[in-house]
């Protein structure tokens, strides 16, 4: 199977030609190792960094921002977003605090 992907790792956006042959994944067109990693992951199980905003206890007009420290399955991103929208962060939470762990990946606060 052959497919063409555009790398999303950096702003360069390399065109990646990916071929799956006898269970091996061959990537061409990548200009760095990250591109090759991205292409392999993308054809097996696409993953993205998860990020969203969360309400903070006692705050009406301000939300905190959170992210996953590593990519999570793309198909779960929207579900995760719904899950986190229902939670409130404690007002003493600080930037960098771990607030959850999804499939072994920490969710941390990036802005509060």
């Amino acid at each position: 199977m052959k497919t063409t992907l555009r790398c999303i790792y950096c702003p360069t956006g390399c065109t990646l030609d990916v071929e799956i042959k006898d269970g091996r994944i061959i990537v061409k067109g990548d200009r760095c190792t990250k591109g090759c990693e991205y292409a392999r992951q993308e054809v097996i199980d696409p993953k993205r960094i998860f990020f969203t905003v969360m309400r903070v206890e006692g705050e009406e007009y301000k939300v905190a921002a959170v992210r996953s420290v590593a990519p999570l399955p793309k198909t779960e991103i929207k579900k995760l977003n719904e899950k986190f929208a229902k939670k409130h962060l404690n007002k003493n939470t600080k930037v960098g605090d771990k607030i959850a762990n999804i499939h072994g990946v920490d969710i941390i606060v990036t802005r509060i």
């Binding site: 999303i8 790792y9 065109t15 993205r48 960094i49 905003v53 309400r55 977003n81």
Partner: protein, 394 residues
């Protein structure tokens, strides 16, 4: 008396102040908001800092890296301030709300503003629900309010693509991104991870002809343009129109002071020190040239910071500059004035999409594949290679 005063506390301004502080003692940042970071705090997605910090950061994290450094240095922070008047009388006299300050040099890191509906002339009613992509992002990611449920996006700039994704994540229906040009103006990675990931259609060669709505937006008239002619039009029901038509550098103060401007970049004409036509006044970041990524703005900040500091000590070299002649196929080149005495990184854009672009500047050449005007090109010009100082696509 300050050695360097930086106007604007976004990424470029913070980088400028930090670099200046390595050379001189008295450095200040004047910032309109009560906090540093510029627009970064509301850009909660990842993808920042890969070049500069070699890390994949979100906007707030990128800003924090710089804010922490600024706070650890003895840099005066004049927050919630506004520059009322700025005079160049040997030293720079700066009138703020909170009083007068004086500085030997000034760095303008005043960022950019988004084009509004009225700058791109969309006729029709004036209901609520028409806003720029950045405003929608502020509603959603700073205040936690969904600005619309059925959204049409005009323009395929990165801020629009990023906002489209966030709206889709929050279950708003994003009907499409309409781009008048035959190619998207945002980065390829954002077409993939913002539009394709969320099945948002991209309509190239399309624009919005009219907005209808009594109190709130009710529908827009969308038109397909081919070879300058309207070939098809259709009403699309929606409650929100988001304008993502690009950024305009903010240079009110510099213009008022009489600095020479470059109509192609919207920023001032600068030499390789990033010094404007006003001696001792420097420029960096999006007020100098609209950058594709924040990393470039920070690098410009560092160049301006170093050179402003050297200027304040009377140690900035006195070079003879040649003006780069912008030739065929090139939209602009920044810096506009180059000496050829030192290696310099030129920032440029091509004027139209090209499969192969053989770019020449002076005696230096570089070939690039698949470039369009939305790709920012970095061109390294080695010392002694300035030649005829002409930039063109061969």
């Amino acid at each position: 008396m300050y050695d360097v005063v930086v106007i604007g506390g976004g990424p470029a301004g913070m980088a400028a102040a930090l670099k200046a502080k390595e050379f001189v003692d008295m450095v200040a940042i004047v910032e309109r908001n009560e906090y540093l970071g510029g627009i970064l705090p509301q850009c909660i997605h990842n993808g920042f800092g890969l070049q500069y910090f070699k890390e994949d950061l979100t906007g707030p994290e990128f800003a924090n890296h710089l804010v922490e450094k600024v706070k650890n240095e003895d840099i005066d922070l004049l927050l919630g301030e506004h520059v009322d008047a700025l005079k160049n009388a040997g030293n720079f006299k700066i009138q703020l709300i909170g009083g007068k300050i004086e500085s030997k040099s000034v760095i303008f890191a005043t960022g950019a503003k988004e084009k509004t509906r009225y700058m791109i002339n969309i006729p029709g009613d004036r209901p609520s629900g028409v806003m720029t992509a950045g405003t929608a992002q502020t509603f959603l990611d700073m205040h936690g309010y969904l600005p619309g449920k059925k959204v049409v996006i005009l323009g395929s700039g990165d801020i629009g693509l990023i906002t489209a994704r966030r709206l889709a994540m929050e279950d708003a229906e994003v009907l499409g991104v309409y781009e008048i040009l035959p190619y998207p103006s945002g980065l390829t990675r954002n077409i993939v991870q913002c539009l394709q990931d969320y099945d948002i259609p991209l309509f190239l060669n399309h624009t919005i002809l009219e907005i209808k709505g009594k109190k709130r937006v009710e529908k827009v008239l969308v038109g397909e343009i081919k070879d300058g002619k309207l070939v098809r039009k259709e009403w699309v029901d929606c409650d929100t129109v988001i304008i993502a038509a690009g950024l305009v550098p903010n240079n009110k103060l510099l213009i008022k002071m009489g600095a020479e401007m470059d109509p192609k970049t919207g920023g001032p004409v600068v030499n390789e020190y990033l010094e404007t036509s006003i001696k001792g006044a420097f420029s960096c970041g999006n007020s100098l040239v609209i950058n594709d990524i924040v990393d470039y703005a920070v690098i410009q900040g560092e160049i301006a910071g170093r050179n402003a500091a050297l200027y304040s000590k009377g140690k900035l070299g006195d070079r003879k500059f040649k003006r780069i002649e912008v030739g065929r196929g090139i939209k602009f080149v920044m810096p506009q004035m180059v000496s050829g005495e030192e290696d310099v990184e030129l920032i440029m854009r091509v004027s139209e999409p090209m499969d192969t672009a053989k770019i020449r500047v002076g005696d230096e050449r570089k070939t690039l594949r698949f470039v369009n005007p939305s790709t920012m090109i970095s061109f390294k010009l080695k010392s002694g290679k300035l030649g005829d100082a002409k930039a063109e696509v061969l």
